[in-house]
Structures are given as C-alpha cells and as structure tokens.
C-alpha cells in the first residue's frame, strides 16, 4: 500500500509538467493572442502594426514559445503566479477571491448530493419495484438527462422571479454582514447543482446495491440470523460502496474547478466563470494557473479514490502490493 502511494506520488509531478506544457501549446495554437484581446474594437482600425508589436514586446510575447514557457515555468515553481494579462491584477489575488466562492458552492452541493444520493439509491434498491423505487427512478432519469442550465433557469424563474423567495443570483451584496445574510444566495445554485449530482449518485448506488443484494453472501448473512439492517448495510452497502466512491471521487475536481454552467447561470463569482473569461482573452498566466490547479486536484482525487477503494475492498489491496 505505502509503496503504491509512493509510486503514484513519484509520477505526480512529471505528469503535472507534461500537462502544463500541453495546455500551454494548446493556447499557442488558438487564434489571436493576448494583445489582440486587449484592444477595444474602436481602436482596432486605427492602431498600427508597429504599435501592436511594441505592445507584444512589452508583454514579452515576441519571444519564442519555448522561452515563454520556460519563463512561466520557472516563476511558477518559485511560487510567482504572475499577473492577469486582461486586467493586470495579480493572479494570487484573483484566486483568493474566486476559490472560496467555488469551494463554498461545490462543497455544499457535493456534501448533500453524496448523502442524499447514497441513501435514496439504497432505499430504492431495497424497495425494488415499489412505488417509491419507480418514482425515484423516474426522478433520477429526469435529473440525469435534463441539462443543468435549463434546470437552473427554471429554478430562477420559479423561486426567484415568480415566488420571490430567493435572490436571482450573485454571492455577496454590499450590505451583507453575517454569514446568515449569504445563505439565501447559495440555496438555489447549490440546490440545483446538488440535485443534478444526487440523481447520478442515486442511479449508481441503486444499481450497485441491487447487484450486491443478489449475491450469495447476502443469503449467508441472513442465514446467520442477523437483523435486516445489518445484512443490508454492513454486508450489502459496504460492498456496493466501491463504485459509488469512484463516482464521487471523480467529482472532487469540481470542488476547485466549479461548475462553469451553474456559475454562469447564477452569476456566481467562482473559478468556473473566471476560467471561461480567461480562455476567451488568451490570458496565458490565468489559464495556466487555473488548469494547473485543476490537474492537481484531478490527480489528487484519483489518488484518494485508489486509497479509499483499497480501504473498502481488501482484494484491491492485495492486487497492488
């Protein structure tokens, strides 16, 4: 187990390096550069090629691709994330503002969707074929297939505009003082996000649970005269948990990446919406930082999944030693 984790950690950093290079190359291949996004459309017809070149030189964009990548890499390693080319703000400052917003939203959604998804899935599996199961299945299918933005807009229309129970969007208002003031703002986006994720987790938990409940060791457990909860939860759910943990683990990057769509719909000032803006503006430093963070979280998440599945299922432990 320890050697396995160590192995994973050793390839961790080379992987980060390769992916950062790939992202950098991708940006290089995209049409236009940061300078072309900096000029307002009105100026575009009057500005000369010399002026553009001068601007490129000022930002260091005239250097070769490899040199620029090397400069970015060395400063990144030293902890200098640089400045956003679009606004000139320090990237660290942008991160400080956007990361908590995204974390807040995704953590609430992930937390509720995991608990709700697992328990509804298990209930659905245990009451297979009943009215409860059928309605949960229909709801789950709807949840999986309806696009997030549509669900989000309908929720805004209903709860914010028609019923006026909750605000339309945004995260912080100037007059907000305590944490309690902010709760109404997070309810809608987190609920929409959580319901979407609940549907997926529920479908997964249900099918995994049904699969396990049909296995012979469940009958063995029952033949020992143990109460039903112990048979279903300790013997059934424990084994059914593995695929569900994998699903939830792969959602961890969401914590940092944010749900771009939901953040857009609700004007949530998180990383998701920031990422879209920075890619549009070919804002190299910002895109690089965000994607690097994303890669970091994805790799960490898959490591966590492996450790967790090994903890749940002893057979995995044996296979990897």
């Amino acid at each position: 187990m320890t050697t396995y984790i160590a192995q994973r950690l050793i390839i961790f950093f080379p992987m980060l390096l390769v992916i950062s290079f790939l992202v950098y190359s991708g940006l290089e291949l995209s049409p236009g550069d940061a300078v072309s996004h900096m000029i307002s459309p009105e100026l575009a017809s009057t500005i000369t090629a010399e002026q553009l070149d001068a601007m490129r030189e000022a930002y260091g964009l005239n250097q070769s691709f490899i040199t620029r990548y090397w400069i970015w890499l060395t400063s990144m390693v030293q902890g200098d994330m640089g400045y956003s080319m679009a606004g000139g703000v320090a990237i660290s400052e942008i991160m400080v503002k956007t990361v908590p917003a995204t974390l807040e939203l995704s953590m609430v959604a992930l937390f509720f969707s995991t608990i709700l998804g697992c328990s509804l899935g298990v209930i659905s599996a245990l009451k297979r074929g009943s009215g409860t199961d059928n309605s949960l299945t229909v709801a789950g299918m709807a949840g999986v297939s309806i696009p997030e933005f549509f669900f989000g807009l309908v929720a805004i229309l209903l709860f914010a505009i028609e019923l006026k129970w909750l605000p339309v969007g945004g995260r912080l208002m100037p007059h907000y003082e305590t944490v309690w003031d902010r709760i109404p703002n997070i309810v809608l986006p987190s609920l929409v996000l959580a319901l979407m994720m609940t549907a997926g987790a529920m479908r997964y938990a249900r099918s995994s649970m049904l699969d396990v409940l049909a296995r012979e060791f469940i009958t063995t457990a029952r033949s020992k005269g143990m109460p039903e909860w112990r048979v279903n939860i300790l013997h059934g759910f424990r084994v059914a948990l593995t695929p569900v943990v994998v699903l939830i683990g792969f959602r961890l990057p969401l914590l940092i990446g944010g749900s771009t769509i939901i953040e857009q719909v609700y004007q949530w000032p998180g990383i998701g919406s920031m990422f879209i803006r920075s890619v549009r503006a070919s804002d190299y430093p910002l895109v690089m930082t965000i994607s690097l963070m994303y890669v970091f979280v994805v790799l960490t998440a898959s490591l966590i999944i492996d450790v967790l599945t090994a903890l749940i299922d002893p057979r995995v432990r044996l296979g990897k030693e």
């Binding site: 296995r215 012979e216 060791f217 009958t219 063995t220 457990a221 029952r222 033949s223 020992k224 005269g225 143990m226 109460p227 039903e228 013997h235 424990r238 084994v239 749940i312 299922d313 002893p314 057979r315 044996l318």
Partner: protein
C-alpha cells in the same frame, strides 16, 4: 415412523410456490419428511426438482416472489415445538432460530463469504447474535472453531480475508460459521459441488464428526448418488416438487421401488466397472414447471407409464420406513427383484 422424541424437524405437506409474470411455479408441492437427531437425511434429485427451495423454505430464506402456500414446518427445540412457517420472515423469532438452532452451508464457498470482511469477523457475527460471550471470548471461540475445522495456523488465519483462503478452506470456514452455535439442525445445500473430490471427502468427514459429537441432525442436499450411499441414514428422492420415494438408505439404495429412483441409480457410472459399462441416462428432460404433466410428474419419462398414471399417485407405505408415490410400484418391485435374483 420413529420415536417422536428423536425427531428434530418435521415437515408436513409443505408447498412453496413462486410467482413470476402472473404464472405460478409449484416448486415444492406437498413435501413431508422427518429429520432425526444425529442422523443424516439426504435429499436427492435432478436440478430444479425443489431440493434447494425446500432447504430455503425451512430457513425462510426464500426470494421475495415466493411464499409458503400450505403445510407445516415443525421444529422441536427442547420440549417446545415451533411452527416455523407461522413466524414472520425476517422477524425476531425467525432470526433467533437462524444461525443458532438451524444453520446452513451453501453450495459455492467462493461466493457465499463476504469478500470485504475477515473470516474471523464473519464467524464472530454468529456468536455475537446468539451467545452472550464478550469480545475476547468470541475471538477465542472463532479461533478454536477454525482449529476444529482443521485450518492450519488459526490464530493467523482468523484475521485473513476469504480471498486468501482456498476453496476447501472457505467451505471449512463456512462450516465453522454454521457450527458456531452448535445448531440442532445443519442444512447443507450441495456443500461440495464446487470443490474437488479429495476436498469433498474431507468436508464430509468433518460433517460426520460434527454430527456424532453434537448430535446434530443434518439435511444434506445433493445430486451425487455416491455421496448418498456414503453418508445418508435416510434418503428422500425428489422429483418436480414431490418426494417420490423415501426411506432409510438401505431401503432406497438397495431396494429402489420407484422407477425414477431406479433410473437415477442406473444413470450413475460406477468406478471399477470399466469404460464399457452400461449407463442408462433418463430419457427426456424435466418438464417445464409451468406446463406440468397432469398426473404423476415422472410419467412422460417413465417406461412403466400406463393410463392410471394420469392421476397423481398417493403416498404408499411399503414398510415401516419405506414410502413411495407410484401406482405401479408392486409390479416394478417384483420385476426388479426377479432380475436381481436371476
């Protein structure tokens, strides 16, 4: 039949039906037998004849789409009698019997143990629910059970997961689990089908030993006639949900009186008779349970079939222990015995 006090379990006219797609499968259709203390009852028959369903019914471990339609399962515990069929399926009383008074061993030890818990944990669950032992005592008992089953290094093995056990060891662990609370009745549903023959012999030896030491009644479900000859005190031959012939091992194996029993015995190759021996497989295959013959269930495959077989034969007592469900048994018995004499 036998002394009432010696009977651990009697099943009377038991019917268990399965319901799927609005059709009814009469998997067990009026089965009666007694199991004596310290004796082995072998239930034999082809696949799908209702052997396993009978076992599952006694434990009330039936799948959701099936139910006990009729009949009685009377379990004698000390001086009390308990009607198992009247207990709630997963209720407290039923759970108190399961694993403690009546225990079960399953066919495939590869899948019957939970892969994510140690063998020790799975044995200890039994003890935890049916005894008052504390944690330390439970652990010691688990180790000594494994030791009794002939598992080497039980102190170490107790903390291992099923995947590091071999097939035979897993079945021993299953038996350890089943025997943990000294059950009055042990139901073994084809316990050695998934194991190779040498292990099979060891497992049966173990079961014999336990039977003698604890006076446990064993219901052994099998389709292996060799096993029956070796272990059975009493034999019940099942076909399509009915017991067609029952009696002591001697009655059934030496003087088979039902054409089906005879056919079963003739379809088994005998070791030592060489490869040119006559093996007579039973013609045809078991009928569709949803489209059964009207009278005797075996009639369409039977060489002795006559018009009278369109009516289901009643159980006839040939002698004190031997009973049979066939119209033609008298003629059959005569002819068979003539053959034997000549």
């Amino acid at each position: 039949m036998t002394d009432k006090n010696n009977i651990a379990l009697s099943v009377k006219n038991l019917k268990t039906f399965f319901y799927t797609n609005n059709r009814c499968n009469k998997a067990v259709n009026g089965v009666s037998f007694d199991v004596e203390k310290g004796k082995t009852l072998c239930i034999v028959g082809e696949s799908g004849c209702g052997k396993s369903v009978t076992a599952a019914t006694i434990m009330q471990l039936l799948p959701t789409l099936s139910r006990i339609e009729e009949g009685e399962i009377i379990f004698r515990k000390d001086d009390k009698t308990i009607n198992i069929e009247k207990l709630e399926k997963n209720g407290k009383e039923m759970r108190n019997i399961r694993g403690s008074d009546i225990a079960m061993i399953f066919q495939d030890p590869m899948t019957a143990l939970n892969p994510v818990y140690t063998v020790g944990f799975q044995i200890s669950e039994n003890l935890k629910y049916h005894t008052n032992l504390n944690r330390k005592e439970i652990r010691e008992k688990s180790i000594s059970l494994l030791n009794d089953m002939g598992i080497p290094l039980p102190e170490k093995r107790v903390d291992e997961y099923p995947h590091s056990y071999s097939g035979g060891m897993r079945q021993r662990a299953m038996i350890a689990m089943a025997m943990a609370c000294n059950p009055k009745i042990l139901i073994a549903d084809e316990p050695t089908t998934a194991l190779d023959v040498t292990i099979q012999a060891q497992i049966f030896e173990l079961m014999e030993k336990l039977k003698e030491e604890n006076d446990t009644a064993i219901i052994l479900i099998t389709h292996d006639m060799g096993v029956v000859a070796e272990l059975a005190d009493n034999v019940a031959v099942m076909y399509m949900g009915n017991i067609v012939e029952a009696g002591t091992a001697d009655d059934v194996l030496r003087r088979p009186t039902h054409p089906y029993t005879k056919a079963l015995l003739e379809s088994v190759p005998v070791l030592g008779r060489g490869k040119n021996q006559d093996i007579n497989p039973i013609k045809g295959s078991t009928p569709d349970p949803y489209n059964r013959p009207i009278g005797c269930q075996f009639a369409p495959r039977c060489n002795w079939q006559t018009e009278s077989c369109d009516v289901m034969p009643e159980i006839t007592q040939i002698n004190k222990t031997h009973e049979i469900r066939c119209h033609k048994y008298e003629q059959f018995f005569e002819k068979y015995n003539e053959k034997r004499d000549s």
